[in-house]
């Protein structure tokens, strides 16, 4: 018997090649990495206190908008209360990423647990979970979020909780169907025959194979949460001032939008870039980790 090939060496190189060959993934990871670093080290990077108002220096434009009016102390200008715009954007990244991550975690845990349970056990569990999913899908996210926040009052915690409890449906739907496919594969039957307990099968055999799908849904939901937070804050029902949320910055800028459009442009652009980067990263990771070899 000599049907043997040497495997391991080229495999790693192949994977590295696949990562480097995916330019979208590289760009997205770089952008996201920079934004994350910016958020973590905000106190060291930000040139000014994001809350400090200098009423004399209101609405100074950045140099690339109006070189004459620009002030070298404020790289991206100041808002209508004279706060440094660059510093507020840097601190704003913290809020966006925090809300995105926490919401994704809350909704991811809820949706994955429900979806995997429904897909693996089927029967009555599946009926109940499917009913929950249908119920959740019949609720309009923005309306419910607005109503709850209006009653409970807007704060970071409330926003995360409300969005987390609303955005689990996609996790549940995707995990449910993926688990249904996996549980019929022979390696699950083999694990059962070997004597694995159900939790061990779920964690050891099912979950690792759900990760590619999980990454894609998670990235999508994180982007979704960031957009929703911006929308809620824009409507005054999300994060409350003076916290520098990007959505809130757009809201504050809309009063001066006609005279100084750049004030609304900068946080809007920031939201765009962040959401795009997260989605591209999710797609890229899915492509790289897609099951290889014969199917």
């Amino acid at each position: 018997m000599s049907d043997i090939t040497a495997p391991t060496g080229p495999k790693l190189r192949k994977k590295r090649g696949r990562i480097l060959g995916n330019s979208g993934l590289i760009v997205a990871a770089t952008v996201l990495g920079l934004i994350t670093l910016m958020a973590i080290f905000a106190p060291f990077i930000a040139p000014h206190d994001p809350y400090a108002q200098t009423l004399d220096d209101r609405l100074i434009p950045p140099a690339f908008i109006d070189a004459e009016m620009a002030d070298p102390r404020y790289l991206l200008g100041t808002d209508n209360l004279g706060r440094d715009y660059l510093s507020r954007l840097i601190y704003g990244a913290r809020i966006s990423l925090l809300i995105g991550l926490l919401t994704m975690l809350v909704s991811g845990v809820i949706g994955t647990v429900l979806g995997v349970a429904a897909g693996y056990f089927g029967g009555r569990v599946d009926t109940v979970v499917s009913f929950l999913i249908t119920t959740r899908l019949s609720l309009p996210v923005v309306m419910v979020a607005l109503a709850v926040v209006a009653v409970a009052g807007g704060s970071l915690q409330v926003v995360v909780l409300v969005l987390g409890l609303l955005l689990w449906d996609r996790f549940a739907v995707v995990m449910r169907s993926a688990t249904m496919q996996l549980r019929n594969l022979e390696y699950v039957a083999a694990a059962q025959s070997v004597g694995c307990s159900t939790p061990r099968i779920l964690v050891g055999e099912i979950l690792p194979n759900l990760i590619p799908a999980l990454v894609v849904v998670a990235s999508y939901e994180m982007a979704q949460a960031i957009l929703l937070e911006a929308a809620l804050s824009f409507l005054g029902l999300g994060v409350q001032p003076p916290l520098p949320s990007w959505g809130l910055m757009v809201a504050e800028a809309k009063e001066v939008m006609l005279f100084d459009p750049w004030v609304i442009l900068l946080p809007g652009l920031a939201i765009c870039v962040l959401v795009l980067a997260i989605n591209m990263l999710g797609d890229g990771i899915r492509d790289v980790t897609a099951p290889e070899g014969r199917s």
């Binding site: 043997i4 495997p7 391991t8 022979e186 039957a189 059962q192 025959s193 199917s295």
Partner: protein
Amino acid sequence: MSDQQPILELRNVVKRYSVGRGMFAPKRPLMAVGGVSLSVPRGQVLGLVGESGCGKSTLAKMVLGLETPTEGEVLIDGRPIAQLGRLERARLVQPVFQDPYSSLNPRKTIASIVGLPLAVHGEGSAAERETRVAEMLALVGLSPRHAAAYPSQLSGGQRQRVAIARALILKPQLLICDEPTSALDVSVQAQILNLLMDLQSRLGLTSLFISHNLAVVQMLATRVAVMYLGRVVEEGPTAEVMVRAQHPYSRGLLASVLTPDPRLGLPDTRLGSVFPDPLAPPPGCAFHPRCPLVFDRCKVEAPRLRNHQGASRAACHAAERDAAAMIPA
């Protein structure tokens, strides 16, 4: 030998499913396995032959404890499988499945796939497990280098060797092979059959070997059972069934094995190709609509599996009539 208790014993095992035909139609019973009694003594291989939908895979799942029989009992080493714990059962019986592309978790290394049973049963230290895994890989003809590889890096034949290593590492009393070579190329099938034959003679395995191909089964099996629509229609020593099959279905199956002999034309199995609806099995003998020997009795009375001549049993009215008509020598 005769007073030794069999490793596997099936006592009138029945499995019924209820099948829905749409939201508002009432569910109908599907008899996947309709009363099968078989036994496999220690060190022997029972070949289970039949076509898709005959219930052979459902039977395998019941022996593995993945499905529970609706009626009847499955005993392994004299103990009813229903009373065994998860871990106890795993020590007694292990499977090798058909498709080596879906029977191995693509996210695990070969070493962790083969070592999983040891880890689940908490056997040995990490170092001892590693040694056992290496021994098993060598036993099935894989090199130690394969331990760190992932399933996608192996060929179909190599994957099936991994599945065999995983099944044997706990030294089970009984091995269930469910179509272990039918997803493989012919040259790879030969390698796997040779490996199973070799392991059989070296380790004295007891096993249930399931296939649709009689030519494959007879390589390994000491006895053969032929199933049709959930029932065993013939059972006996391999050589006898291969040479003097008594049931017309067994003869048809045997005739439909296409040997690579260019001087023989296509066989005439005389079976027709109308496979009955398992939801509405024909009355009497389930095989009678396809049977070339059918007579009136077959349409009303289901034949029972009994001995007519030689050492094998067949469920066939025609075989019974012919045996009775023979003048004793």
